[in-house]
Amino acid sequence: MAGPEPTGREGARRIVAALEECGVTLVATVPDTWIGWLMEEMRKSRRLRVVDVVSEEEAIAIACGAALVGARAAVVIQNAGLLNSGAVIASLVHLYMVPCFLLVSYRGDERDPVYYHAPKGRVTEATLAAWGIRHARVREGVKAQIRQGFDWIEETRAPLALLFSAEDLS
């Protein structure tokens, strides 16, 4: 259950274009319905290598490995998976100060029509804050947001999470 599919995919295409323009070459992902819509656009890119993984902690470690050898990578996961990932964020991302860019589907926020996601929505931003992860919701001008986000994580050697909803993909 995911709510209605967004009409058009302009928002998703803007996100993909922004990642390409930032020089991202690798995207590690675990799907949910919204991410599935985004990844359909992502997989059309000739510049992004999509790595399908089986757990969100793994996606974060893969992106960290890419960053450690000088590549730009992004992690695309649901907030449920983010909530599973506290250990790797603390013991790899924070401990080794590895830049890490997270694109997180924000299930259970006020825009999500699916009732059972609501508990995750209630704790997502508080958890991000508690874990020391700077975060923002996708807004108009997402390309600039993503560009600035990559510059910021590399300057600070810290993680950043950009939270998106289904309507951000339309």
Binding site: V51, A63, A67, L68, A87, S91, Y96
Partner: protein
């Protein structure tokens, strides 16, 4: 039959191409030994983040196809993230070898036994499309097995039955994470 960890490590280090290979060590004894060995290839050691070594190495391997990545992982740590073998099998990097040290113990935390069931990592790796998955018996077999891994056109897993000796004087962690990261970056010329 088991072999001492140090013997595995020395054979592995001796088989590396410093200009081409990268080494990632999972947390624990391998990471603690690494600064005490003559490792001339760039190397990155985890002192925590159990289960992250293989995906970390996968990220490096995919981002740098011009390099070859050897990951040193323990059996307990791999069990924590066993699904990563499926991810590696699907991604099919031809420049990643996972060396899995099998001693059925959580050595770093006091030598507690793993859950009492024999997990056949070689069979699992074969089942998820690793073209090379072998269990070795002796350290002298390692260079040739590594070469078979690099030549296989896909990922490889080498299971290394490792002796557990609670009295083994494993050195303590001697490098801090920031130092490890910086040394790794410098060795890569970054």
């Amino acid at each position: 039959m088991t072999t001492a960890r140090r013997a595995w490590l020395e054979a592995l280090v001796g088989a590396l191409d410093p200009g081409r290979d990268l080494v990632v060590a999972g947390l624990g004894a391998n990471a603690r030994y690494l600064p005490h060995l003559d490792v001339r290839a760039p190397h990155f050691a985890l002192c925590d983040s159990m289960g992250a070594a293989i995906p970390l190495g996968l990220g490096m391997a995919l981002a740098r196809p011009d390099r070859r990545v050897v990951v040193l992982e323990g059996d307990g740590s791999l069990l924590m993230n066993l699904g990563t073998l499926a991810t590696v099998g699907a991604a099919r990097p031809d420049n990643l070898v996972a060396a899995v040290f099998e001693n059925a113990r959580y050595e770093s935390s006091g030598g507690q036994a793993l859950p009492e069931v024999r997990v056949d990592f070689v069979a699992i790796a074969r089942a998820v499309a690793f073209p090379v998955a072998e269990r070795l018996a002796e350290a002298r077999e390692l260079p040739a097995a590594l070469a078979r891994g690099w030549a296989s056109g896909g990922p490889a897993l080498l299971a290394l039955p490792t002796a557990f000796d609670p009295a083994e004087p494993i050195p303590p962690y001697s490098q801090r994470p920031a130092e490890i990261r910086l040394n790794f970056a410098r060795a890569l010329g970054r």
